[in-house]
Homo-oligomer: 405 residues x 2
């Protein structure tokens, strides 16, 4: 991964403090250690799932689905995977019925993922699917040790896997939560972790990414009152669900009351896909209010050689300049052109991330990069990055409604 | 449609001026008249497409694809459609290859949609697909009269349909651009227009939506410096692509330099889907910076009777309150709970839109509602709602790169 910043910041004191805080945080926040974990028990478990199982279905929402979905949808178009992966992540009845029509329920293994073990959406769907197919061998639960879900599992003889300690949902993609569904579908989870590990080492062992991440986080934090919308502009359809994962990670981690004040703060994430969103959101970036930073993500080589043919169309000869270009060249030229156009504007903080290709290693590195960035910015804007107290009120009201109170 | 505002505004002078401006604008901006158009020529044209055609593929980007996609993805899950609809809207080679693998090119009719008639993405893809399948009867072009695309069409005997006059890409879903692909797939386009017409009449003929739209637009405009992020929180997966259409409409129309100043202004659109995004973006709305308005969109009746079964799970008895509820009830209770939770917060302007069901009529009304709202807000924040000068710079740079300059 190459990350190039087109803005500068000089606040070395803040950078040092943030680095120290993150280094210290490693002992209490679980996600930092995930790249080094031993995955043999996960692989062993995956081997116990029958080869007759053709599809894996995650029943989970938010942090229980977005990470695996991001990786799966990135890799799926370029790799011949042995099993399909589905996500039941909504109580929308149309969505549930539609998903069920796509899979053969008797050849599907369901992963019920709930950290707390009592998520309303997850259990509504689980109950419904269980009523259609009540074979305990068709299910595996992933939850925190001792959760109500684990206790239930013991009663009905369903296998349980645990989340590691102190790993929050939105930081859990590199734990059992993401690794189990991905491994079951033939994703190389060791490469995924290796990609993450490279970024981790580069950050903590004074590699090049340390300086870049500290500068970027400090810039975002220092200027958060002005640049409080942070766009990812990713030039590949394969990164669409990575953007959704980023939106949760960024929004839920950084939208908070400050720890030492009564101020509401927050950085708003926006995920964009190029070139499509050149015809949508770009106008707003170029000419709209100067409240947005933009990070372009490029894939250097799509390893796909389809090419615009050498055809000249009458009256459309001006488009002959496209001829013989590969689409890979074209999409990256489009990205570079938009970057150049934005650099000519004032007051749009911009950086670029290049990854070499569409691989597990590369998405692993992107994931860990964004997790570190989130932790750093959270520290610097003085919020608790790892909780989400704001979502409780709605849950309490829902419970009352369900009870008819 | 029922639209309820939970905020008030008293600026009647601004409301009157905005209404007058929109009324006057009808003579020069083409989209206003679309609900009353005669669709018989479109339906006649559709009848000329062979019944052996199994799929329709739109080659188009931005305004040429987002509208049809929004309607198609809304209706598809609830209606047995005779043909599938695909969208080639990216130069991403993986995406192109992947889409082509899903369809039988010889049983597909391609609609090449480009208002200007020389869109880089559209013609790169068209050239590629044409090189694989050069049968002129497999293509229809939709473009402005006299465009280079129309001239080319005459040379190669490909049929051409026109966009109506003065209809911009992002306001074109109810014109040939959206209606032709939708009608070819069995969508009831007359109902779509009827839904739009109901909103149009209610607005221009002093129906209830006039007051609501004027109040909402005036509030957004007056407070745009503070509430410059406008979220749609739609409680159905079927509205996912409607949100993408909204993002283009809102962002590209309102992100501008003001007409009478050198100020950059803009309202940033965010599309959210519930309940999924309760586990993602909601925390940021609840506790983050007070810079967001939220519009909830609810579907009153999903016409789907799947129900959470009356099963009690040991150790999870607290979830028995879900039993016997339909998913339709549950998802709407979730929506109501989040609305109530947000209403308990200060400084989060909120409104709700309810549509009765998932139908062409309902999405037609939503579309026209948002088009009118966009026009009103654009007028009130003093921008040219209908151009997009900010996207030109990147195109010029791309052209130079392609020429090797």
């Amino acid at each position: 991964m190459i990350n190039k910043l087109y803005f500068t910041t000089t606040n070395e004191e803040a950078q040092k403090n943030a680095f120290d805080a993150i280094e210290e945080e490693q002992s209490s926040i679980g996600y930092y250690d995930l790249p080094e974990q031993n995955i043999s028990s996960i692989l062993d478990y995956c081997d116990t799932i029958s080869l007759t199982v053709e599809a894996i279905a995650v029943i989970g929402i938010g942090g229980s689905s977005l990470g695996a979905k991001a990786v799966y949808e990135f890799i799926k178009p370029v790799k011949d995977l042995p099993r399909k992966l589905y996500f039941f992540e909504s109580t929308d009845p149309i969505n549930i019925t539609n998903l069920l029509s796509k899979l053969d329920i008797k050849k599907t293994h369901f992963l019920v993922i709930s950290k707390s073990g009592n998520t309303v959406e997850t259990f509504s769907i689980y109950k419904y699917i269980y009523s259609l197919h009540n074979d305990p061998f068709a299910y595996t639960f992933i939850t925190d040790p001792g959760s109500p879900l684990e206790q239930y599992a013991k009663e009905v003889n369903i296998s349980v896997l645990h989340l590691p300690e102190n790993v929050g949902g939105r930081f859990s993609v590199l734990s059992t939560v993401g690794l189990v569904p991905l491994a079951l579908c033939g994703i190389d989870i060791q490469s995924l972790l290796s990609g993450a590990k490279t970024i981790k080492e580069s950050f903590f062992e004074h590699g090049y990414i340390q300086d870049t991440l500290l500068k970027k986080a400090t810039y975002y934090a220092k200027n958060h009152a002005q640049y409080h919308i942070n766009c990812i502009f990713a030039y590949s359809e394969t990164l669409k669900y990575f953007c959704e994962w980023y939106v949760q990670l960024w929004g839920e981690s950084l939208g908070k009351l400050q720890r030492h004040s009564a101020f509401h703060v927050g950085l708003t994430p926006v995920g964009l896909i190029g070139p499509k969103d050149q015809h949508s959101f770009l106008q707003l970036i170029m000419e709209g209010t100067r409240d947005k930073s933009v990070t372009f993500i490029k894939i250097e080589d799509f390893h796909d050689s389809i090419r615009i043919p050498d055809i000249s169309l009458a009256h459309l000869e001006s488009l002959d300049i496209l001829n013989n270009k590969t689409f890979s060249q074209l999409i990256n030229m489009q990205c570079d052109s938009v970057i150049e156009a934005l650099l000519e504007q004032e007051s749009i903080p911009l950086d670029t991330i290049s990854i070499p290709s569409i691989s597990e290693y590369d998405i692993g590195s992107l994931i860990y990069y964004y997790e570190l960035l989130t932790s750093l910015v959270g520290e610097l804007i003085d919020v608790n990055t790892y909780n989400q107290p704001g979502v409780e009120a709605g849950k309490i009201i829902l419970k009352k409604k369900l009870q008819g109170i």
